[in-house]
Symmetry: C2
Subunit: 284 residues, 2 copies
Amino acid sequence: MIKKIYIIGIGLIGGSFALELRKLFPKSKIIGIDNSENNLGKALELGIIDEKTIISQIKNPDIIIVSVPVKSIINLLPTILDCANNNTLIMDVGSTKNSICKIISDHPNRENFLATHPIAGTEFSGPTAAQEGLFKHKNIIVCDKDRTAKSKLQLGLKIFELMKMQISYMDSESHDKHIAYVSHLSHISSFMLGKTVMDEEKSEKNIFDMAGSGFESTVRLAKSSPEMWTDIIHDNKENIIKSLNDYIENLAKINCLIKNDRFEELESQLKSINYIKTILKGIN
Amino acid sequence: MIKKIYIIGIGLIGGSFALELRKLFPKSKIIGIDNSENNLGKALELGIIDEKTIISQIKNPDIIIVSVPVKSIINLLPTILDCANNNTLIMDVGSTKNSICKIISDHPNRENFLATHPIAGTEFSGPTAAQEGLFKHKNIIVCDKDRTAKSKLQLGLKIFELMKMQISYMDSESHDKHIAYVSHLSHISSFMLGKTVMDEEKSEKNIFDMAGSGFESTVRLAKSSPEMWTDIIHDNKENIIKSLNDYIENLAKINCLIKNDRFEELESQLKSINYIKTILKGIN
């Protein structure tokens, strides 16, 4: 019987989790914890949480969702694991997984913990961005599942299934390596595209009238939270540097083709990249 | 009285123009010209055009829309302008404008021509992608308007207004300089992002399960037509090289910040790029 659910970090992801868990466990109490009194106030007002508290006041938790930025997860997770009793399931939802799993690797309550990464962000943040159905048909990556006690793992997976998520499994090191390419690099490329265009066009605001949905689509992620992304980049530094090196090299090579009028090679390269159509069909 | 409208290149843009012009001039005949018999067949089948013909058979045209790739516009436009009579309005819709305007600068029928760039593409192509309403509330850039005879300019502008487009004016050289940043660079960055990720992950297709809507959004433009984009890149070579140099420099700089653990500077840079939110609000 799930009676008390704690959500640490009541933003977009934490808030949306709270909404789902309320549907799944209508008799449970949902208690929010957040650095920001403003976030807590809004979450109470919107009915996302029933009460607010602080970490040192956590008592008899059945489920704890940790949805704060990666750096804070690393700082707080050992203390949060101290709060676990025999039945507690603690899950984080951070965008990196390796250093998070390392920091609690030898914690006596390691088995109460399930490392997850729901692929379901948007560029918006805060409890007002929280929404029911955010996770529906989205992927969630569960890392190092053999380090979680069977009963806790089963509870976690059942929740994700009821939320209609697609579950995949990975070790935390591979997660960070691959996510650098398929997510983190997109964010940095988008931020830098935004910067490049704004630097060039800053004195001529009306130029952006020329921009269409293509520009909007590629710079959408440049609206993301700088704090959160600085954290992620810091934490996944080595993998991101490698992906950025590869990206810069590809851009420099295509620039070289353009400079040298090698347009047939350029066209054949663009054609082979079109294969991305097939890949994207598999993405929600 | 508009009786005969010729659409040269009956793809996404040409086809969508045909659909709009049929609504505006229901009594006119719409005649399609295309290299591809397949496109012509589909356009006839879908009722986008009434007849097909070839350029040398153009007779008494009231309006001619030239919506073929940029290189073909440059090749064909002088011949097409030869077909103009006193009343003919000829418009192109190419993604670059400078070399197009140059090639017919001294043509005796220059005044029949209006250079335009509707900012309304999608990553799809062909007559089956054509749709009514594609241009509604979109921007159209009209270039070098003083080179067009007043009566033709007025007809063109009236058509765009009836299509509910937002019209802006620019000289063709400025158009190409700015569009390199706000459109062409987005496409190249997207193609190269697609390449970088596919090269890294090609042996592990399931990795793309990890990708979310962020990745999809940034690589969407990598689905675009390679032929069309090779043409555009070729034609706007110098401006694109400059924008790519700027972009690569910004990426190298941020990679340097990451390598040297200068995360405070990185965060402050991401924060200032967030200003893009304000800019994007103005884009449809």
